[in-house]
C-alpha cells in the first residue's frame, strides 16, 4: 500500500475563551488509506466536529501534525489551506450549503471556479457530475426547486467534481427522510466502489454501518477503531 491519504499524529486542539481552556481533541493518531470508507462516530460534544474541521483543513491543530496526501497542512496559512481544500477535499454538509440564487450546475462548478478552470470545461464537468448523481435532468433548477434529497445529491456532485483525495461528509443524512437517506448513502457507496476515499462523520449507527471501518471518538480521544462487515 502507498502512504495513507490522511495521517494524523499526536493531534490536539485546544479552544480558549477568556481564561477557560477546553481541550476538544487530546492526542489523536489515525491513518486513512486511499479507497477507505470510514465513518467517524461519537456522541455530540465528543470532538467529532472538531476532528471534521481539522480533517477538512478548515482549522489547524494546536499541536501535532496532519499530513494530507503527504503534505503537512498543520502549519499552513489560510490562503494555502484554501488551496488545499479546493484541490484535495470534497465537502458534503448536513445543511447542504447550496447557494439559493444559482442553478444546480452553477453550484456544482463553484470549486472549479476557484481552481481556475475555464468556463467551458467547468460547465462540462459540472453537468457530468450531476449526471453521475442522477440529476442530469435538473441541471438548470435552483436549489429551491429541488427536494432535500436532490439538494444533497447536488452537494455530492459538487464534492466530487474536483476529483478530490477525500470526500468528507458531515452528517450528510441528518436533514433527510429515510428514502433520501438511502439514496445519498447509496451514492457514497458508489463513490467508494469506484475507488474514492470517503469519510463520513455521523452519530447515526445505520449510517456508520454502511462504512467499512468505524472510528469511535469520545471525549477527544479515539476509543475504538473497528472494521465493520465489509461486503
Amino acid at each position: 500500500m502507498s502512504a495513507p491519504v490522511v495521517d494524523l499524529s499526536g493531534v490536539r486542539k485546544t479552544y480558549r475563551s477568556g481564561s477557560i481552556e477546553f481541550e476538544a481533541l487530546c492526542g489523536i493518531d489515525m491513518q486513512i488509506d486511499e479507497g477507505d470508507y470510514v465513518a467517524v462516530i461519537g456522541p455530540s460534544g465528543s470532538g467529532k466536529s472538531t476532528l471534521m474541521n481539522l480533517l477538512g483543513c478548515l482549522d489547524t491543530p494546536t499541536e501535532g501534525t496532519y499530513l494530507l496526501g503527504g503534505e503537512d497542512v498543520s502549519t499552513m496559512t489560510e490562503a494555502q489551506l484554501a488551496e488545499v481544500r479546493n484541490r484535495r477535499i470534497g465537502f458534503v454538509f448536513q445543511q447542504f450549503h447550496l447557494l439559493a440564487s444559482l442553478p444546480a450546475w452553477r453550484n456544482v462548478e463553484l470549486p472549479l471556479l476557484y481552481a481556475g478552470v475555464s468556463r467551458v470545461t467547468r460547465r462540462e464537468r459540472a453537468i457530468a457530475a450531476l449526471e453521475k448523481v442522477g440529476l442530469g435532468g435538473r441541471v438548470l433548477n435552483r436549489p429551491g426547486e429541488l427536494s432535500g434529497g436532490q439538494q444533497q445529491r447536488v452537494a455530492v456532485a459538487r464534492a466530487l467534481v474536483t476529483e478530490p483525495d477525500i470526500i468528507l461528509a458531515d452528517e450528510p443524512t441528518g436533514n433527510l427522510d429515510s428514502g433520501s437517506t438511502e439514496a445519498v448513502l447509496g451514492l457514497l457507496q458508489e463513490l467508494h466502489d469506484s475507488g474514492r476515499t470517503v469519510v463520513v462523520i455521523t452519530h447515526e449507527h445505520e449510517v456508520a454501518a454502511r462504512a467499512e471501518r468505524n472510528l469511535v471518538i469520545r471525549d477527544g480521544l479515539i476509543t475504538d477503531d473497528m472494521l465493520v462487515g465489509a461486503r
Binding site: E83, F91, H97, S101, L110, Y114
Partner: protein, 409 residues
C-alpha cells in the same frame, strides 16, 4: 480566480438581491444626479450671463459711474452716483483725445409708463444718441432709428423694442407712425427694434422705448446732464486696451481725481463676464458642496448595506471559503460588488441628471448646460465611492473563518 469571473460573481450577487442593491444605490443616485444638476445649473447661469454680455455689442467698453460716498461715510454700490455726464461722452467721442474709440453712445435710463388708447405698459425708457444701434449691435426691423438732428432738437420720437411693440399694438397695424403717450407728451413711433435674438438674454433687451436723450431729459424733468452709462465701441479688438487706457486717463483728468479715488469704472465685456462668473462660481461651489455631502452620505449607505450584506451572507462566504476561495478572492469579490453598486448608481444618477436638465429649464426658467467633464468626474466619483466604502466590508468578509461562517444559522 480572474477578474472576469470575479466580475460575473459580483453581477450575480447584485442581481440576486435586486431590491437591496437598488436601495444601496439610491444614495449615490441622488448624490450624483444633484451634483450633475447643480454643476449644470451653475454652468448654465454662467453661459447665460456670457450671452447677455456679448449681446451688448462687439469691442465694447462700458463706462459706469463710481460709487457714492455719503457724508456719513456710507458707500453706495457702483453706478449709484451721477458723476458721468454728456460732456464726458462727447469728450470720449473726440478722436483726437481718444483715437481708439470708434463710436460713443451715452445712455440714461428711467422707468416709464407708455399708453396707447387704453393699453398701459410699464417699461424702461432709454435716452441715448443716434450712434446707439451701431454701438449696441442692434438693428431696426421696421421704420428707422432717430438721427443726430432729432437728438439735438429733442424731437418727440421713439423706437420701441419688439416685445414692447407687441404689447402695445395688437393686430395687423404697423406701430410705425402711431402715437404713444408718455408722461402727458405724445411720442411718434418711428421704428421697431429687431429682436435681440437669443432668448437666454432675457426679455428686457426687447422691451424698452429708446428716445433721443434730450427728449428723455425733458420728459423726466431732469435738468442735469448726467448719464447712467457710456457705451464706447473700440475701433478694433486689438486696440481695446489702448482705448481703455485713453478713456481712463481722459476721465481722471476731466474729473480731476486720482486713480485711487476714481468716481467711474471702465469695464470691458471680458471683465464683466469675469465678475458675474465669480458670483455664480461661489453659488455653484456652495450647491456643489451640499451635493458632495449627499454623495458622501450615499457612500456611507453603500458601506452600511455592504456590511449588512456580509453578515447576511456569512454562510455563503463560509461555503465559498470551504470550497477553496482564499481571503483575497473573497475580498476582491465584495470590493467589485461595492464598486459595481457605486458605478451603477452613478450611471443611473447621470441619466436622471440628464433627464432633469431637459425638464428643469421649463420649470424654473434657468438654462442647464451639462459638461462632459462633469459627467466623467461624476462617474469616477461614484466608482471611487464604491471602492472606498467597500474596502472595510470586503476585508471583514475576507477575515471570516470558514468554520464560524458555515456554522452560523
Amino acid at each position: 480566480m480572474n477578474w472576469v469571473e470575479t466580475f460575473r460573481t459580483a453581477v450575480d450577487a447584485v442581481r440576486a438581491h435586486r431590491l437591496r442593491s437598488l436601495l444601496t444605490m439610491l444614495g449615490i443616485v441622488i448624490g450624483i444626479s444633484s451634483v450633475i444638476l447643480t454643476v449644470g445649473l451653475g454652468q448654465g447661469a454662467q453661459d447665460k450671463v456670457k450671452d447677455q454680455i456679448s449681446a451688448l455689442g462687439s469691442n465694447l467698453l462700458i463706462v459706469s459711474p463710481g460709487s457714492t460716498t455719503s457724508s456719513s461715510g456710507v458707500r453706495g454700490g457702483f453706478g449709484s452716483s451721477t458723476t458721468l455726464t454728456l460732456q464726458d461722452a462727447s469728450a470720449i467721442a473726440d478722436r483726437d483725445v481718444v483715437p481708439d474709440a470708434l463710436r460713443v453712445a451715452p445712455v440714461s435710463t428711467s422707468s416709464t409708463s407708455l399708453t396707447v388708447g387704453d393699453t398701459n405698459w410699464t417699461t424702461s425708457m432709454v435716452g441715448t444718441t443716434a450712434t446707439w444701434p451701431q454701438v449696441r449691435a442692434r438693428t431696426v426691423s421696421q421704420g428707422r432709428f432717430f438721427t443726430s438732428a432729432e437728438v439735438t432738437s429733442g424731437a418727440d420720437v421713439t423706437v420701441i423694442g419688439a416685445d414692447t411693440a407687441s404689447e402695445l399694438f395688437s393686430g395687423p397695424v404697423s406701430p410705425v407712425g402711431q402715437q404713444v403717450s408718455v408722461d402727458g407728451a405724445q411720442l411718434t413711433v418711428i421704428g421697431v427694434l429687431a429682436s435681440s435674438g437669443s432668448s437666454s438674454t432675457g426679455s428686457s433687451e426687447d422691451d424698452q422705448a429708446v428716445v433721443p436723450i434730450s427728449t428723455q431729459k425733458r420728459l423726466t424733468g431732469s435738468t442735469n446732464s448726467s448719464v447712467s452709462t457710456i457705451y464706447v465701441q473700440g475701433a478694433s479688438d486689438d486696440t481695446l486696451t489702448a482705448a481703455y487706457q485713453e478713456i481712463n486717463a481722459l476721465l481722471l483728468n476731466a474729473h480731476d481725481v486720482t486713480a485711487a479715488s476714481a468716481d467711474f469704472t471702465v469695464s470691458t465685456q471680458q471683465s464683466l463676464v469675469e465678475t458675474a462668473n465669480s458670483t455664480n462660481k461661489t453659488l455653484t461651489v456652495l450647491l456643489g458642496g451640499i451635493a458632495a455631502i449627499s454623495l458622501l452620505v450615499g457612500g456611507i449607505g453603500v458601506m452600511n448595506i455592504m456590511l449588512v450584506s456580509v453578515t447576511e451572507r456569512i454562510r455563503e462566504i463560509g461555503l465559498r471559503k470551504a470550497l477553496g476561495a482564499t481571503p483575497s478572492v473573497i475580498r476582491r469579490q465584495f470590493l467589485v460588488e461595492a464598486s459595481l453598486l457605486g458605478l451603477a448608481g452613478g450611471v443611473i444618477g447621470i441619466v436622471i441628471g440628464y433627464v432633469g436638465s431637459l425638464v428643469l429649464p421649463s420649470l424654473i426658467d434657468q438654462p442647464v448646460s451639462l459638461s462632459l467633464l462633469a459627467t466623467c468626474a461624476a462617474l469616477g466619483t461614484s466608482l471611487a465611492l464604491g471602492v472606498g466604502f467597500g474596502v472595510y466590508p470586503a476585508s471583514r468578509a475576507a477575515r471570516l473563518t470558514p468554520i464560524d461562517a458555515l456554522r452560523s444559522e
